[in-house]
């Protein structure tokens, strides 16, 4: 596209987090007026790179070059001074400040020059103007707390745009937006592009990349794979670059005839979540559950596991009706939940491997007095069996890598001898090697007669691992496929709600 001097270059960036190298010698250059897509699987290092450019974290090694000069970006303010701004992955709004206050945070127009008094009128006018560009008309005096996630996301984007950035970083900005808003955003990106603004766009959605991308850089496990012009590359090549190996190796699956019913959910409703959900899981099968962020998949898992109370519906486990009240109760019924956010819900990071492994099954082994030698032996068994890389069973879990942490969570649930597992994004943020191991373990579990309900955002994973697939959209199940009748296009379209009839599609 444009072959001008790069406005920003990064060279040999390295960033380590405890137990994992997030970025390993990554280089790329961004030119004015281009949309440069950063692509890669979850955990590939895209967001880490974005955070470094925005001054939220500092790299351990490497150099950033701005218009030919080597610079250091230590704080977000410094990034701003070079005209680098972006929408962060985390929520960066203050819930009880109003829309205008959030957009102009720390940049409020003053009533008199040199005095700290805020000119509220001008602030509201300019905020309304900025929002109007996206066709959004909200009361700018409202606290953002009361607004929907899509509008909040647009406010975050306006917050950046009002600083007049030269380099704009958008980290998966469309995840929570509706189609109409995505359309507006893309139009505006074109406008910015024509004004010479460089845009770094992080996404793994091929369709989006084709629509707005000029060049695409692929990262894998923190390493630079390559940069290619979007027009000269096929989807297959991109996927190949992203995944880095053959699909069949990634998903070691031995499908078998499924056994009797393990879990049946009928007409389940959760407040502000899943509505009228029906689904079944049998012994010996992996059931995929796909949908966009916010479609209600995690909420469904939480309701089945007794974390949030459902409003109505029926749940039967092995033919026995249950009304989920707490995880404690559901574990007794033989359920296990591997949560999406393992650091928050899955692990006690400041406890050793031993105490994490035993967390859900303590009372299966001991009534009152604990025998710590028995726990150590048990943990060592799992460490060997799952090949958890740790110097000892007493190492605090926080010092293990993401993949090994996930294996500890797995060990915890294996030790409960549960029959039915709900795996919520089981391979998010772990490296490819560990991914394959987790997949192999899932296969082994169902071979031995367990049933797995797997929530995942990665379609290849779902297609490669599942026996049956449910598609969720806005809280409802709108599609149900056997693995051999499903393909990426069909499911992808349904996830976006394309072609949804009012009647239940299953």
């Amino acid at each position: 596209m444009l072959d001008g001097e790069p406005i920003i270059q990064v060279k040999g960036i390295v960033k380590d987090f405890p137990g994992v190298r997030a970025l390993d010698n990554v280089s790329l250059d961004i030119r004015p007026g281009e949309v440069h897509v950063l692509m890669g699987e979850n955990g590939a290092g895209k967001s880490t790179l974005a955070k470094i450019l925005m001054g939220v974290i500092t790299p351990d090694a490497g150099e950033i070059i701005y218009k030919g000069k080597s610079i250091q970006i230590r704080t977000p303010l410094e990034a701003q001074s070079y005209g680098i701004g972006g929408v962060h992955q985390e929520f960066m709004l203050v819930p009880w400040l109003n829309v205008a206050q959030n957009i102009f945070i720390n940049r409020e127009p003053k009533r008199w020059k040199g005095l700290p008094f805020i000119d509220h009128r001008r602030m509201h006018e300019e905020s309304a103007k900025a929002l109007a560009k996206f066709g959004i008309s909200v009361d700018t005096r409202q606290p953002v707390k009361y607004l929907g996630t899509a509008v909040q996301q647009m406010i975050e984007i306006c917050k950046v745009l009002t600083t007049g950035p030269k380099v704009l970083i958008l980290d998966e900005p469309t995840a929570v937006l509706t189609e109409r808003e995505v359309e507006k955003l893309f139009q505006y990106i074109k406008v910015l592009q024509s004004q010479g603004v460089a845009i770094i766009y992080i996404s793994h959605r091929l369709a989006e990349i084709r629509r707005i991308g000029d060049r695409v850089t692929v990262l894998r496990d923190g390493k630079y794979v390559g940069t290619v012009p979007v027009r000269e590359v096929t989807d297959d090549t991109l996927v190949q670059m992203m995944v880095g190996r053959n699909i069949t190796q990634m998903y070691p699956r031995h499908r078998r005839a499924s056994g009797p019913e393990l879990l049946r959910v009928k007409g389940l409703c959760v407040k502000d979540g899943p509505q009228e959900v029906d689904l079944v899981v049998h012994e010996g099968e992996i059931v995929g559950l796909v949908g966009l962020v916010g479609a209600g998949r995690t909420e469904l898992a939480r309701a089945i596991f007794g974390i949030d109370r459902p409003v109505k519906g029926e749940i039967t486990v092995k033919g026995k009706p249950v009304w989920p009240k707490s995880p404690q109760q559901m574990i007794r019924y033989g359920l296990g939940l591997l949560p999406e956010d393992r650091k928050r819900y899955g692990l006690a990071l400041n406890m050793p491997v031993t105490k994490n492994v035993i967390m859900a099954s303590l009372r299966r082994h001991f009534r009152f007095m604990i025998d710590s030698q028995k726990i150590e032996k048990l943990s060592n068994n799992y460490i060997n069996e799952l090949r958890i890389a740790t110097p000892s069973a007493y190492r605090l879990v926080r010092y293990l890598s993401g993949g090994n942490q996930q294996k500890v969570v797995l060990a915890k649930w294996l030790d409960t001898e549960s029959k039915l597992f709900i795996f919520d994004e089981p391979t998010r943020g772990i490296d490819v090697g560990a991914k394959v191991e987790v997949h192999a373990l899932m296969d082994k579990l169902v071979q031995e007669g367990a049933g797995i309900l797997m929530i995942s955002s990665e379609l290849p994973e779902v297609l490669g691992m599942s026996d049956r697939i449910y598609v969720m959209f806005r809280g409802r199940i709108i599609g149900h496929f056997r693995y051999d009748e499903a393909d990426q296009e069909k499911i992808g379209a349904l996830m976006l709600g394309i072609g949804v009839k009012e009647a239940d599609a299953s």
Partner: protein
């Protein structure tokens, strides 16, 4: 086998610098204090004075036992002083009006348990921030004590009751024996049982504990109730020892109880700490006060010292934490 164990031990030593460094520092502080006091006063290293210091520390240790359990769950109990005063006053009133000693003590401990359970409901079930809930309970307990006493001081309690605070078993004071037994029970409960495991798990990551099927509400209720009970027992010990009860008797224990727990290495963030540490913390604090008295420094200064000690301990804890990361 032993070689493997030894290498593992060395490796883990390097890894757990903080967890080993802190107890060593604490023990060193305790020994240094003893040394200084021995040099300052020839009366320090005598049987009588040592027994005396231990006896002085008993109330603090007993309060610290329940408080440690609470703090391990990342909670806090600011009501211990209030509960101690209320139970002391109540029991004294009951004894004066002729209620049999065991019954009066049982009622006292029961009231402590109820107030603790109340804290547990506020924190574990309703979900108030622990310092708010227990601070409210503190004012309620002190208010009830005020109503109970109407401004008077009760003294002259039955001799059999006073035995628990001032009596002897052979040559060892009864309160020391009682405290040692309680401490042993708490130590075993926290370090060797499923309940203790739940307490540590809750303090390390409440959400993960809940997701793993631990009954987090029951654990909260339990630890606050335990704290209420130990505060009540401390109230009985103190009333018996002083042979008197008055509304303000719990005042110093809020700060001192917390100071000994924190100085004992129990982290306010939860999940880290032990009964042994709390005992050392209580001993250090008692020795400091003892030393100030030996030096003839006015008791008015005690507030400054406990305040300073607690800030230093918490600050040291957070510095050590940073260092270990």
């Amino acid at each position: 086998m032993s070689v493997r164990l030894a290498t593992k031990a060395i490796e883990e030593f390097g890894h757990h610098k903080r967890t080993l460094l802190a107890p060593i520092l604490r023990l060193a502080t305790l020994l240094a204090l003893c040394l200084i006091l021995t040099l300052l006063s020839e009366n320090f290293l005598t049987w009588n004075n040592i027994i005396n210091v231990l006896r002085q520390s008993t109330m603090l240790v007993v309060i610290g036992l329940g408080l440690t359990a609470v703090v391990l769950t990342a909670g806090i109990d600011l009501s211990v002083g209030g509960v101690l005063a209320l139970v002391g006053c109540l029991t004294a009133q009951l004894l004066r009006s002729g209620v049999p000693i065991p019954l009066a003590m049982l009622i006292g401990i029961g009231v402590g348990a109820i107030l603790g359970y109340f804290n547990g409901i506020l924190v574990g079930i309703i979900g108030l921030p622990p310092f708010v809930a227990t601070y409210g309970t503190k004012w309620i307990a002190e208010g009830l004590a005020l109503i109970l006493m109407q401004g008077q001081i009760i003294f002259g309690l039955p001799k059999a009751f006073r035995w628990i605070g001032a009596g002897y078993i052979w040559i060892i004071p009864a309160p020391i024996i009682i405290t040692a037994v309680l401490a042993l029970i708490f130590h075993i409960l926290l370090s060797k049982t499923t309940i203790g495991y739940d307490i540590y798990a809750l303090g390390t990551n409440r959400e993960a504990a809940f997701y793993s099927g631990i009954n987090v509400r029951a654990v909260s209720l339990l630890v606050y109730t335990l704290s209420g009970i130990t505060a009540a027992i401390a109230g009985l010990l103190m009333t018996a020892r002083l042979d008197a009860a008055e509304v303000g008797m719990g005042e110093p224990f809020l700060m001192q109880g917390m100071a000994s727990v924190v100085m004992g290495g129990t982290s306010l963030m939860g999940g880290v700490g032990s009964i042994g540490g709390t005992i050392i913390g209580a001993l250090i604090l008692t020795l400091v006060v003892n030393g100030l008295n030996l030096l003839g420094i006015s008791s008015l200064v005690h507030n400054i010292v406990t305040g300073g000690v607690i800030l230093l301990a918490v600050f040291g804890d957070s510095v050590l934490r940073k260092y270990s990361e």
